[in-house]
């Protein structure tokens, strides 16, 4: 198989980072930081997700087509969210 094989040592390192990030994000929730709970949590979550996708899911060596697929999924999720929120976030806008 032409595919590149990622060695276990990489997996262990990624795993260590993931666990560290988990402790970090849970730790943050005990601090009084207001809206940053959501922002920070989602940001750390995104980093973790990217790590999992790149290494555990081999996306880093993945074919162009698989990048396109997952990119499309995320892009369309963005459309759904952003356009739905154009309604919700502007409901209280007044015209006069």
């Amino acid at each position: 198989m032409a595919e590149r094989i990622i060695p276990p040592s990489t997996y262990y390192r990624v795993f260590a980072v993931l666990i560290a990030l988990t402790f970090l994000t849970v730790g943050l929730s005990f601090l009084p930081i207001g809206v940053w709970h959501t922002v920070g949590g989602l940001f750390i979550g995104a980093v973790k997700a990217v790590l999992v996708a790149l290494f555990f899911m081999h996306l880093i060596h993945g074919s162009k087509a698989s990048w396109v697929m997952i990119g499309a999924g995320l892009f369309w999720l963005g459309i759904l969210m952003v356009l739905t929120l154009t309604d919700y976030l502007t409901r209280h806008w007044l015209l006069y």
Binding site: R91, H92, L94, L95, Y96
Partner: protein, 345 residues
Amino acid sequence: MPVFAQIQFQLFPERASTTAERVDALFFFLTAVTGVMGLLVTTLIIYFAVKYRRRSEHDRTPRILGSLRLELIWTIGPFIIFLIMFVWGASVYLAIAQTPDDAIEIYVVGKQWMWKVQHLDGQREINELHVPVGRRVKLTLTSEDVIHSFFVPAFRTKIDAVPGRYVQTWFEATKTGRFHLFCAEYCGTYHSGMIGSVHVLEEEEYHAWLDRRAEGSPALEGRKLFLKLQCVSCHTGDAQGRAPSLEGLFGRTVVLQDGRRVTADASYIRRSILRPQADVVAGWQPIMPSYDRLLADEKEGLGQEEAIIRLIAYIRSLDRDQTPVRTEDFPPPEVNPATSDKMTR
């Protein structure tokens, strides 16, 4: 010929509001543009199909791959036309969405399957709406159950009544007469029966209509008394009440317990209030207390008879389904609904 005369046939709806003029102008513009484009396309197709029809099995055809210039023309050309359509449509819409401040305010509640209209001065109507010609009218709508949609074709006015929130629209009628009112959002079995009419009246007529039950009118004051004196706690509008419904009572013949038949006129009602035991309606318990000497209100300077007149006027005006509910389930909101437009909190 009489057969044909009976057939009602229309091709274009009546135009009876200022909005209708704007909407129709947009409609004619769109019809013209799309008409031209549609004709262009169909003519070309038919022309090509005839001119270049196959004459033999061995027809030779050229190799035409395309033309960037043409492609650009028919990408950008329609796009510009579309932009004009958008801007025009948006401007018409903004005129509809921007509700005026100097308007008559009317509250409309949709309910399976009727429209309950409540004027600010207290009149209520069902499946009817009376408005004056040439005045702006602002509607604030909500629904008690599912989504309905308030639609007056002659005004080109439509808006969904959504449960749990208020939405607003407005119109200004330009013609007197009676116009259809439809429910346009599917709402269940009798969706198509949720129809009524909008009566556009001349200003004076409208005031006369208002006066029949309007602010300061005896009927409206009577309604307030009816609520204040708790009559409504027994005389509910439905069959569950401890007392007969008073809707449509006035002028009817009432059968009493002792077999007498009396006409429910003003004096009968007055007696019923002051000495209820005198004329007990057949089938009911004589539990109604006498209101003699309880009706006057010193602070308001209101005498007993005055109060009775008002009550009578109110009972006289009381139509089907208009008995107020004890807790007034949908009172007009105190705040300007526009500012509470966000989801209900």
